[in-house]
C-alpha cells in the first residue's frame, strides 16, 4: 500500500442477508485523481463507497483510506473524508446556514462561523442563508450537499451519484467545481452512470453484480474492452441499423441521431463487414478513435442491470 494512493482496497466483500452485494472488490485510487466509479443501478457502488468510509463493515477484505485501516480506524477516516450521499441527506427542516453550522460543529471546526459564511459566499447563497434547505431546488441541494461535504477541508471526497436527477446546466457547474477541487489536490471518487461524466474522469472502474469488470486510466478503457468502432452516416440509417444488428462480426450498434456507431470485438471480421458495406457506396464509413462511450455501452449490455432497467436498453446489440 503505497503513500501516493488515497484509497487502496483488496478483496472487499459484503453480504446483505444471503445476497452478495460486493464480491472481492479491488481498487486503487491515486491521490489527487478524479476516479469515476461506474455501473448500473444495484451493482454495489454505494455499498462499496460506504465500506471505504467506515459506514459499513465488510464481511472480508482489507484496505486503507488516507493511510487509515478501513475496519479498525473508521473514526479517523471520518475526520478526513467528505462524503456526499446519493439522496439529499441534510436536514430539510433546518435553514441552509443551520445545516452548514451543524456539520461544522460535528467536525469541531475552529472559526466555525467564518468558515460557514465563506462557504455560503462561495455557494452564492449568502442572501438565502435563512431559507429552509428543503425548499431548495434539486441543483441547489446538490451544491449545498457538496459544500457541506467540503466544509471541513477533507483530502478525499466520496461522491455517490452526486448529479442524479439534476438538470444539465447544474451538472456542468457541478463538474466545474469538482475539477476545481481536484486541481487543489483533493482526491475525488465519484460514482455515476452518466457517460458524459465518465469521460471527465482520470481513472475509471466499472462494476456490475458486485464484481469489478474493468478498471484503469480512462484512456486505456477502450483498449481494455477491445472494441473497434466505425462511425456511419448516410440514407435510410434505420434500415442499415436493422441489417447490421443481424450481421456476424458486428457486436454492437449504437445510434446517435442520424449516426451509427458500429463496434466489434474482432477487428478483422468487422473490417470485412465494413468493406462489404462500403462496396455498395451508400454510406460514409469512418474508423472511430477512443470509443469510451461504446466501451461502456458494451459493458452494460454484457452485464444487464440487476433491477432490469437501463443496461439492455442502452446496449443495442
Amino acid at each position: 500500500m503505497t503513500a501516493d494512493l488515497a484509497i487502496s482496497v483488496r478483496g472487499l466483500t459484503k453480504d446483505f442477508g444471503s445476497h452478495r452485494v460486493v464480491d472481492h472488490f479491488d481498487m486503487d485510487v491515486p491521490k489527487g485523481a478524479i476516479y469515476g466509479f461506474l455501473g448500473p443501478n444495484g451493482s454495489g457502488k454505494t455499498t462499496t463507497i460506504r465500506m471505504m468510509c467506515g459506514l459499513l463493515t465488510p464481511e472480508s477484505g482489507t484496505g486503507q483510506c488516507l493511510g487509515f485501516d478501513i475496519i479498525r480506524e473508521a473514526q479517523q477516516i471520518k475526520e478526513h473524508v467528505g462524503y456526499m450521499t446519493q439522496k439529499f441527506s441534510l436536514y430539510e427542516d433546518l435553514t441552509i446556514r443551520e445545516n452548514l453550522d451543524f456539520i461544522a460543529r460535528m467536525y469541531r471546526m475552529k472559526d466555525r462561523s467564518a468558515k460557514v459564511s465563506a462557504a455560503l459566499a462561495d455557494l452564492g447563497l449568502t442572501n438565502r442563508a435563512g431559507q429552509l434547505a428543503g425548499t431548495l431546488s434539486g441543483g441547489w441541494k446538490q451544491r449545498l450537499a457538496l459544500a457541506a461535504a467540503m466544509l471541513h477541508g477533507p483530502q478525499l471526497l466520496l461522491l455517490d451519484e452526486p448529479t442524479a436527477g439534476v438538470d444539465p446546466k447544474a451538472r456542468r457547474d457541478f463538474w466545474d467545481e469538482i475539477r476545481r477541487l481536484s486541481a487543489q489536490g483533493v482526491t475525488v471518487l465519484v460514482s455515476t452512470h452518466y457517460m458524459d461524466e465518465a469521460v471527465q474522469c482520470d481513472f475509471i472502474a466499472y462494476i456490475a453484480y458486485g464484481k469489478k469488470l474493468i478498471s484503469g486510466p480512462a484512456g486505456d478503457i477502450p483498449a481494455l474492452v477491445g472494441l473497434t468502432t466505425w462511425r456511419v452516416e448516410g440514407p435510410d440509417i434505420s434500415g442499415l441499423e436493422a441489417r447490421l444488428r443481424k450481421t456476424p462480426g458486428v457486436d454492437q450498434v449504437a445510434r446517435f441521431g442520424a449516426v451509427l456507431h458500429v463496434s466489434g470485438k474482432d477487428k478483422a471480421a468487422l473490417a470485412q463487414v465494413v468493406a462489404t458495406e462500403r462496396a455498395q457506396g451508400l454510406h460514409q464509413w469512418h474508423e472511430q478513435a477512443g470509443g469510451l462511450e461504446e466501451a461502456f455501452i458494451y459493458l452494460m449490455a454484457g452485464a444487464p442491470d440487476t433491477l432490469g432497467n437501463d443496461g439492455a436498453a442502452a446496449g443495442g446489440a
Binding site: Y83, L90, L94
Partner: protein, 376 residues
C-alpha cells in the same frame, strides 16, 4: 477521542430547532396530555351514581315510600318510572334504559306489619359488574337504616335487629372514595409513558427514514453524543408535562400532594429516563416512523391495562403480575400514588425505585448493543 460536549450540544440545539419548527408535534407534546388529563380526570368514575331505576309496584304505602325515598337519597338510584308487569321490567334491563328494577310484591305492607319478612326483588343489570356493584352493596344498609326510622312504636319488633357488634371501616388516603384522586396520579404515569416513548422513537427513526442518519454517522460523531443529544430535549418536555400536570391535579382536581418532593422527583427522573431508553430501543429495531409509532402504541395497552392503572393489580393472576412488574409504569404509578396520596418518603418507595432502575439497566444495555455506528 472521548465524548465531545461540543458535538453533543450541537445535536441538542439541532433537535430543539427541529422541535420548534414542527408545531403540530410540539403542540401534541404539551396540549394532548392536558386534554387527556381533563378528559379522563373528569370522565372516568368507578363509583357511578344516579343509575336509572324502575319500580314495579304491586303494593304501596308508607313503608314502601320510606324505603324508595331512602334509596333515592343515597344518590345511587334515580327513579325513572313505574312498570306494571314483569316483562316491561325485563325489557328495560335488556335494552339498557334501566340498570335496576325494584319489585314490590303484592301485600308487601301488610306482610311487613304481620312480621312475615316479605321479599323485595332488586333485578340488576350485572353485565358490567363495576357499574352495579357499589349500588348493590350499599342497598341493604340503606334499607335497614330506612326501616329502623320508619318502623317505630308497635312495629318496632318487625324492624331488622342490629348485629351484636359493629365494624367501623376507616377509609384512608381517599376517604371520600373519589375516583379522580386515584386516577389523576396514575394518569401521569400513563401520559408520560405514552408521549416519551413514542416521541423519542419517532425522532430517532426519522433520521434513518429521511437519510440524515447517513450524513450524521459519516461525521466523527459518537453514538453517545447522538443518543444524549437527541434524548435531552425530550427530558425537558417530560418536565414541562409533569409540572403542568401537578398544577392541574392540585388546582382543578383537588388531588393532594402529601409526601416527599425528593421522593417524587427521584422516581420521576428515573421513570423519564427509562421511557426515553425504551423509545430509543424501539427506534433501533424499526425502520420507519410508522413502525415506530405502531410498536410504541402496542406498548401502551399493557401499560394501561396491566399496570394497575385501570384495574387493581392484586386482582391479576400471578403470571399477569409478572408481566405487570416488567412494565415501568406499574412502579411509577405506585410511586405517584404513595407519594401524592399517602405521604410517602424515599424509604417507602425504595422497592419501586429499584424495580424501575433494574428495568432501565436492561433496556439501556439492549439499546446500546443494538445501536451501531455503521449502517449494517
Amino acid at each position: 477521542m472521548g465524548f465531545s460536549f461540543a458535538r453533543f450540544s450541537a445535536v441538542l440545539v439541532k433537535e430543539f430547532i427541529q422541535m420548534r419548527r414542527d408545531r403540530i408535534t410540539f403542540g401534541m407534546m404539551i396540549g394532548i396530555p392536558i386534554m387527556q388529563l381533563f378528559l379522563f380526570g373528569f370522565a372516568i368514575n368507578s363509583d357511578p351514581k344516579h343509575l336509572p331505576t324502575l319500580v314495579e309496584m304491586a303494593d304501596q304505602g308508607p313503608i314502601t315510600r320510606a324505603m324508595l325515598m331512602a334509596m333515592k337519597t343515597s344518590d345511587y338510584f334515580a327513579f325513572e318510572g313505574i312498570v306494571t308487569d314483569r316483562e316491561a321490567g325485563d325489557r328495560a334491563l335488556r335494552d339498557g334504559s334501566a340498570n335496576f328494577v325494584a319489585v314490590i310484591p303484592p301485600g308487601f305492607e301488610r306482610d311487613v306489619i304481620r312480621g312475615l319478612s316479605p321479599q323485595i326483588l332488586l333485578a340488576a343489570d350485572a353485565s358490567d359488574p363495576s357499574a352495579a356493584g357499589n349500588a348493590v352493596a350499599a342497598l341493604s344498609g340503606i334499607v335497614s337504616t330506612a326501616m329502623a326510622q320508619t318502623l317505630t312504636g308497635p312495629l318496632r319488633a318487625t324492624a331488622p335487629s342490629p348485629a351484636p357488634f359493629s365494624v367501623t371501616v376507616h377509609k384512608q388516603f381517599n376517604p371520600e372514595g373519589r375516583t379522580a384522586t386515584n386516577i389523576v396520579p396514575g394518569l401521569l404515569a400513563i401520559i408520560l409513558s405514552m408521549t416519551m416513548v413514542m416521541i423519542t422513537a419517532v425522532a430517532i427513526v426519522r433520521e434513518s427514514e429521511k437519510g440524515t442518519m447517513e450524513t450524521l454517522i459519516a461525521t466523527p460523531v459518537r453514538p453517545a453524543e447522538v443518543m444524549l443529544g437527541k434524548i435531552t430535549p425530550y427530558i425537558l418536555v417530560g418536565y414541562v408535562q409533569t409540572l403542568v400536570f401537578l398544577l392541574a391535579a392540585r388546582v382543578i382536581f383537588d388531588v393532594p400532594f402529601l409526601g416527599s418532593r425528593l421522593a417524587f422527583f427521584t422516581g420521576f427522573n428515573l421513570y423519564i429516563v427509562v421511557n426515553l431508553a425504551l423509545g430509543f430501543l424501539i427506534s433501533t429495531v424499526t425502520r420507519s416512523q410508522m413502525q415506530a409509532m405502531q410498536i410504541s402504541f402496542f406498548t401502551l395497552l399493557p401499560t394501561i391495562l396491566l399496570s394497575g392503572f385501570m384495574f387493581p393489580f392484586a386482582g391479576m393472576p400471578g403470571w399477569a403480575q409478572v408481566i405487570g412488574n416488567a412494565i415501568p409504569a406499574t412502579h411509577f404509578l405506585r410511586i405517584t400514588r404513595k407519594v401524592m396520596l399517602k405521604g410517602a418518603g424515599l424509604a417507602d418507595i425504595s422497592h419501586d425505585l429499584a424495580a424501575i432502575g433494574l428495568i432501565m439497566l436492561v433496556i439501556v444495555a439492549v439499546a446500546l448493543k443494538r445501536y451501531r455506528q455503521t449502517l449494517d
